[in-house]
Symmetry: C2
Subunit: 356 residues, 2 copies
DNA sequence: TTGTATGCGTTATCAA
DNA sequence: TTGATAACGCATACAA
């Protein structure tokens, strides 16, 4: 039988004398104090019609007095109810790229009354899978995932009914909604820019060689070279730089080549920083272009060309795609591309590029 | 009566012919398929003893086959159960300071099997209050809050039983656990450093004049001056700079003073950047010290002294304080101070300071 | 070793 | 306009 808490204002002593632990008030508690039924309280809380205003006022007073808060956990247990919660899986939330994504997602989610549960995968496929599982166990309404390298077919096994939107990189092995940067176009434009400045020996400094973003940026690089009838020179390509230190060393090595480059394209901002350090320490200066903008670029003692984009907007777009699915969109998986722009940063540049 | 789903392997048609919407499998569904009772499935899922290995294997097989995932929402509804979820309220998750806090919190939370629900208050007291309320409605086990300006006694009204740890700034009107930076000490050391370099006219560029961190940094500034018998000069103090542009303008104004400063202390990194721009555009160079480290500082064409600290560690400490409360610590509210260090950044500096 | 009954706090159904 | 009652999916106490 359902527990009925005492309906007199002062609680009668429980059978077990343990009154010192104050439970959170429930609708039943409010109902007892207000002298109505549980259902009436529910009606008031949910602004349902058919409650006499005097009754509603009495209930409201009790709610205020007792500090009642509806238990969303219990509410969402009912069939057909949602948790109004989205799950977010990134590599590392302290990375500004991912935290900006989170920001955009949160903005859109807030507009829909949703909160975001976030977790970091550490770029580990197993950890990502566990995280997705954990989030699904908590009945998130949908998932936003920056996929780690590795197979994602586990999401496909028609076991998961919640919509998923991937960000930044496509998942392996499944068709799904995703939001990507225009990696190829950005690299193309940046290299084209270097070519327009008269360079024909342009080095390419990359991180992990098999990551989608890196491959696409490489494609853009090669296409820009080809469009200008510049022969692709394998000796100017360095891959596998995983931190600024390695990019710095790679830069020094490039400078020592018999026929060194006259410009460098770096595929992300951490590598750009390493290249900058290498150039600085060697005392030479080559034209540099890099993917990703970075803070303080205008304060540098030399010009740097960067490929920039609106990461927060990328998060917004991803969240909007997810909500479209939650709203019933059953069209085939879609890919949205976020535009990028090439901007020259460096001394004498006043202010920030438009839209920043 | 409890719904009992059919116990034959092939589901019999429901009374209502709506088989096209696949429900998520429940323990009861698994039990039906495995031919055991719900409780036995529960035992297997929770690794309880007293299950014959053959039975357990049958249940495991059914779980795999059906893609069963325990519903954590339902589990946490039972009395005495927690949600293993922490609530995090910051001003803006895309701000690297807050996302680093989030990262440290997440690390510790993960070690305890907890996830983090994050929300941004936009530095708005009302929004913060709503966010706290929303998080409590979702039965978070505890809260981590960067308090917006405004009264926080609403948390005190003995209505909330969950522990709260404040970060970066103390809440107003209540006693609670908190983790703060050594704002005063950092400012003191930075100004002391400028004094040691021979400066006695040191400007102070600040943001909002009544924020705790700003006040403490001002205290450190004044104490360092006093310790060196330097008279506090009101004309060198600029407050109310809310963005780099205003700090840039403030710098230009300072340079135009009849008796201008020879060094500047900026109370946060956004203001430092503004000051840097002001100095650059004016073509003059003063010694600069600032609170908060910033990326690329070593690439600048001049030296900058920064007050740096480990934000991720700050998040870890906050989370550990929260878990201590969740573990039953009922000692009086505590304040933990995160140490800071003064580091000179700029040309010729090789690598990063230790611990970075 | 396994199963039955009950209730967590809410919403939905249906009756009063 | 109100209220009694039955789920939701799980875990807990207790029985078999």
């Amino acid at each position: 039988m359902t527990r009925k808490r005492v309906s007199i204002p002062t609680p009668a002593p429980e059978p077990t004398p343990a009154p010192s632990i104050p439970r959170k008030p429930t609708m039943q508690d409010v109902a007892n104090v207000a002298g109505v039924s549980l259902k009436t309280v529910s009606r008031v809380v949910n602004n349902e019609p058919n409650v006499e205003s005097a009754t509603a006022a009495r209930v409201q007073a009790a709610i205020q007095e007792m500090g009642f808060r509806r238990n969303e956990i219990a509410r969402s247990l009912r069939p057909g109810q949602t948790t109004s919660t989205l799950g977010l899986v990134t590599e590392d939330i302290s990375n500004p790229f991912y935290s900006s994504l989170a920001r955009g997602i949160e903005e859109v989610a807030r507009g829909r009354g949703c909160l975001v549960i976030a977790g970091s995968s550490e770029e580990d496929a197993l950890r990502e899978k566990e995280l997705v599982n954990t989030l699904l166990q908590r009945s998130v309404d949908g998932l936003l995932v920056v996929p780690a390298a590795g197979d994602h077919t586990y999401l496909n096994a028609q076991r998961i009914s919640e919509p998923v939107v991937f960000m930044d990189r496509p998942p392996e092995g499944i068709q799904a909604d995703m939001v990507l940067l225009d990696n190829r176009g950005g690299a193309y434009q940046a290299v084209e820019h270097l070519i327009a400045r008269g360079h024909s020996r342009i080095a390419f400094v990359d991180g992990h060689p098999y990551v989608h973003t890196g491959l696409e940026r490489m494609n853009g690089y090669r296409q820009a070279l080809a469009a200008a009838n510049i022969t692709y020179d394998r000796s100017l390509v360095v891959v596998g730089c995983h931190d600024p230190q390695q990019a710095e060393q790679a830069t020094l090595n490039l400078l020592k080549l018999p026929n060194p480059p006259t410009a460098i394209f770096a595929t992300n901002n951490r590598l750009s920083i390493g290249v900058l350090k290498g150039l600085t320490s060697s005392g030479k200066w080559l034209d540099l272009a890099g993917f990703d903008d970075f803070e303080l670029a205008d304060m540098l003692p030399f010009e740097v060309t960067v490929v920039r984009y609106d990461t927060i907007q990328m998060g917004r777009v991803a969240a909007e795609m997810l909500f479209a699915r939650l709203d019933g969109d059953t069209s085939p998986p879609q890919t949205r591309i976020i535009e990028v722009e090439v901007v020259v940063r460096g001394p004498g540049r006043v202010g920030l590029p438009s839209g920043y």
